[in-house]
């Protein structure tokens, strides 16, 4: 009987010790997780004012993909189906201006993509390729210019002589 009591007592002790170890472990783990998220404990420092964050946020994040008068403001691309795919795939190496100043048929746009894949490190566009080609061939198709066009966009001014 005494042996049994002794055993229960030591079992209780072990259990309490295990609770303690577990509790300490939880605290350390919790602390480490916090350290990962905020290594400089900046949440406990009182040197920030509310306005900081608002001003940055207003400046840069608002309307990042704003469309105005049918034009994607940030890039100058025409609004249309496939626009985001084109923005994401076609403007990481070169400017959108290299696209928007050109006019090509679907076949030529396709050949241009192949050339970029073969020589310029463009990735495989996968199933997005068709949508990208359709967007380009729709909004940036060739226009007939003939052998010589009229002078256009003339700004008339009085010449002082």
């Amino acid at each position: 009987m005494e042996d049994l009591n002794k055993f229960r007592k030591s079992a209780d002790q072990i259990l309490r010790l295990m609770y303690l170890v577990f509790f300490v472990f939880i605290i350390i783990a919790g602390f480490l997780v916090y350290l990962l998220v905020d290594p400089s404990f900046s949440a406990f420092k009182k040197n920030d004012s509310e306005e900081n964050y608002i001003s940055i946020q207003n400046q840069e994040v608002e309307d990042f993909d704003k469309i105005e008068n049918g034009i994607h403001v940030r890039t100058g691309f025409v609004e249309g189906e496939g626009l985001q795919l084109v923005v994401n795939n076609c403007t990481s190496c070169h400017s959108a201006k290299l696209v928007t100043q050109n006019r090509m048929s679907k076949e030529q746009w396709s050949a241009t993509i192949r050339w970029m894949q073969e020589t310029q490190n463009l990735w495989d566009l996968g199933q997005n390729e068709e949508a990208i080609l359709t967007y380009l061939a729709t909004h940036y198709a060739p226009k007939k210019g003939g052998r010589r066009q009229n002078l256009s966009d003339i700004e008339w001014y009085d010449l002082e002589q």
């Binding site: 905020d38 400089s40 900046s42 949440a43 920030d48 004012s49 509310e50 306005e51 900081n52 964050y53 001003s55 940055i56 946020q57 400046q59 840069e60 994040v61 990042f64 990481s92 190496c93 070169h94 400017s95 201006k97 290299l98 100043q101 050109n102 006019r103 090509m104 030529q108 241009t112 310029q120 490190n121 463009l122 060739p142 226009k143 007939k144 210019g145 003939g146 052998r147 010589r148 066009q149 002078l151 003339i154 700004e155 008339w156 001014y157 009085d158 010449l159 002589q161």
Partner: protein, 406 residues
């Protein structure tokens, strides 16, 4: 407090997404600070260009002049077009800048410091016309792929440097040398360090000309970064792409240089003329060498309204690649009749020449003034687009300005 932290973290993550990189010390960002990577760079300030210059592309930077901006006899930096294939280098430390010569046709590789080049060889100064091979591409029909230059991708600045020939003689080249190709430190648009954005060159005969320079000054000052600081190869009269910027190496080749943009459709045109839009096999494409005869009316600016009875003074420049311009004529009746302008001789070979004329108009109305130069071989500029080619090179159709007499 916690909410604010959360908002801040959210903003930093969004900013990071915009930049495509983590903002490592984002927590320390001061109030209202705009990250450099997000600022819209002002190219006119950055490159010291006039605000009337036209930006065709901002990655890579490609900027052209307008005809009336090119009125100076020697083009100042502020009106000089910028053409880039890759990213302009940011680290051009001039103190340890070297130029290496290698390739099949040197006896052994030789490297010079920039200081040695400047002190060891005699220096020369020339006015040299540099025109982009694709100047005028915007007029092509069917359209040609690439930057849509109108008329402003041409300049004639004063370049100071040493003769490439003198240095090649010092290096010692074998008799089988055919071509030289340049290597530079600009980076490929994809960021791939193994890729050269452009590595073109010229036949050895062009490399050995008096006017082919390793230049370190433009208009008496250090070359602006966008134009090749601290060392640039200058091969006047040829597509400006042959004049490599940020020069680090010259390969002397025993065959036609095969660097980036020497093959395929780049700076090559059909050897035999083709119909507009025709497909051309690779083996039927030939490398552009000398640029064709061309001229530009730089005064007045197109759109001038003048009073009836007044005469109009016009002026501009004419150039002809390897050749010189023999005469420049103007027409006010859409090419039906031509009158000769007065034309100056070039300051030196490969410099553009200045022309001027005094025009009278018979009655009120709308006119176009056309200018047409003829080179020393008797070849004149066409009035319409010349031979179509897949990449839209060599458009030397005569320049036109609009005038109203009221």
């Amino acid at each position: 407090m916690q909410r604010r932290k959360f908002v801040k973290k959210g903003v930093l993550i969004s900013l990071s997404t915009l930049l495509g990189a983590e903002i490592v010390y984002g927590k320390n960002l001061p109030m209202g600070y705009e990250l450099l990577g997000l600022q819209d760079p002002d190219p006119f300030k950055m490159f010291d260009k006039d605000s009337q210059m036209v930006v065709l592309n901002d990655k890579p930077w490609n900027i052209e002049a307008q005809a009336h901006l090119l009125d100076d006899k020697i083009t100042p930096n502020r009106y000089m077009f910028i053409r880039n294939n890759g990213i302009i280098p940011s680290n051009t430390s001039v103190d340890d800048w070297t130029l290496s010569f290698d390739g099949e046709s040197v006896y052994e590789k030789k490297t010079f410091s920039l200081k040695d080049l400047k002190s060891k060889f005699k220096q020369y100064t020339y006015q040299l016309t540099l025109e982009c091979g694709g100047n005028g591409r915007s007029e092509f029909d069917p359209p040609a792929k690439g930057n849509q230059w109108t008329v402003g991708a041409v300049s004639c600045a004063e370049w100071t440097g040493i003769r490439l020939r003198d240095v090649l003689e010092d290096v010692g080249i074998k008799s089988d040398a055919v071509y030289i190709g340049y290597h530079a430190v600009d980076t490929h648009l994809s960021g791939d360090p193994k890729k050269e954005p452009i590595s073109r060159g010229v036949p050895i005969s062009k490399a050995l000309q008096d006017e082919t320079l390793l230049a370190f000054k433009m208009n008496g000052e250090e070359i602006p970064l966008a134009h090749g600081y601290p060392l640039r190869l200058i091969a006047g009269g040829w597509p400006a792409s042959a004049s490599g910027k940020w020069l680090k190496g010259i390969s002397v080749r025993n065959k036609v240089h095969d660097g980036t943009k020497m093959t395929g459709t780049a700076y090559r045109v059909p050897c035999e003329p083709v119909a507009p839009g025709e497909k051309v096999a690779d083996e039927n494409m030939c490398i552009i060498e000398s640029m064709p005869v061309k001229s530009l009316i730089t005064y007045p600016k197109s759109g001038a309204v003048i009073n009836e009875g007044k005469s109009l003074k016009i002026r501009g420049h004419a150039w002809a690649g390897e050749l010189s311009a023999e005469k420049v004529e103007y027409s006010i009746d859409f090419g039906s009749s031509w009158k000769e302008c007065s034309l100056e001789t070039p300051a030196n070979r490969l410099a553009w020449q200045h022309f001027s004329a005094d025009l009278r108009f018979p009655k009120k109305g709308y006119y176009e003034v056309w200018a047409r130069a003829t080179d020393s071989n008797g070849v004149a500029q066409p009035m319409v687009l010349p031979g179509w080619n897949p990449k839209g090179y060599l458009n030397n159709a005569c320049h036109r300005i609009a005038i109203k007499v009221s």
